[in-house]
Symmetry: C2
Subunit: 74 residues, 2 copies
DNA sequence: TACGGATGTAATATATATATTGCATTATGT
DNA sequence: ACATAATGCAATATATATATTACATCCGTA
């Protein structure tokens, strides 16, 4: 579960605690998501995006594995 | 939990069953997600995106204040 | 030294996503 | 009419995301 939550959060000058409050979860949940240790719900992903003013693709998109995905995307 | 899973699936000529097999879940899970009746995990969202060759934003992004989002909150 | 803010992480409890099974309706084809 | 594929939906079981609580390290600073 790779993502860019930590970078996005720090770039908005938010602590884990502040992001947790804005998104309605606990600090521990934010910490574990940043560490890639679990798999947040779509709803929480969206709340995080709203809090850091980014989209799902910017914060949570990861390519499948190799480069076989980009070719069929458009 | 509004989304565009159904449109994306049909545009790839996949049945719910076929999408379920490609994403490693059951047909019922796909059905409930399409109906907006629950809140998939990020991992499943990504699997769905890979299966229909779209990105998270294309399939799952909803603006914070949009009507469809607010309606499904309560 | 001590103190406080930010973070990492572990144990256990609770909420909910997902599986499993089964039955229904609708549409299509013979 | 009959068969079959696709879908909707309900009941219950299981897996896991998240909460709660607690304690730890690191870092700045007084």
């Amino acid at each position: 579960m790779d993502n860019h939550v930590k970078v996005a959060r720090v770039s908005k000058n938010l602590t884990q605690q502040q992001l947790a409050e804005k998104t309605g979860v606990t600090r521990q949940t934010i910490s574990l998501i940043e560490k890639g240790k679990y798999n947040p719900s779509l709803k929480l992903c969206l709340e995080i995006c709203y809090a850091v003013n980014k989209t799902l693709d910017e914060v949570f998109w990861v390519e499948k594995g190799s480069d076989s995905f980009e070719e069929n995307k458009g």
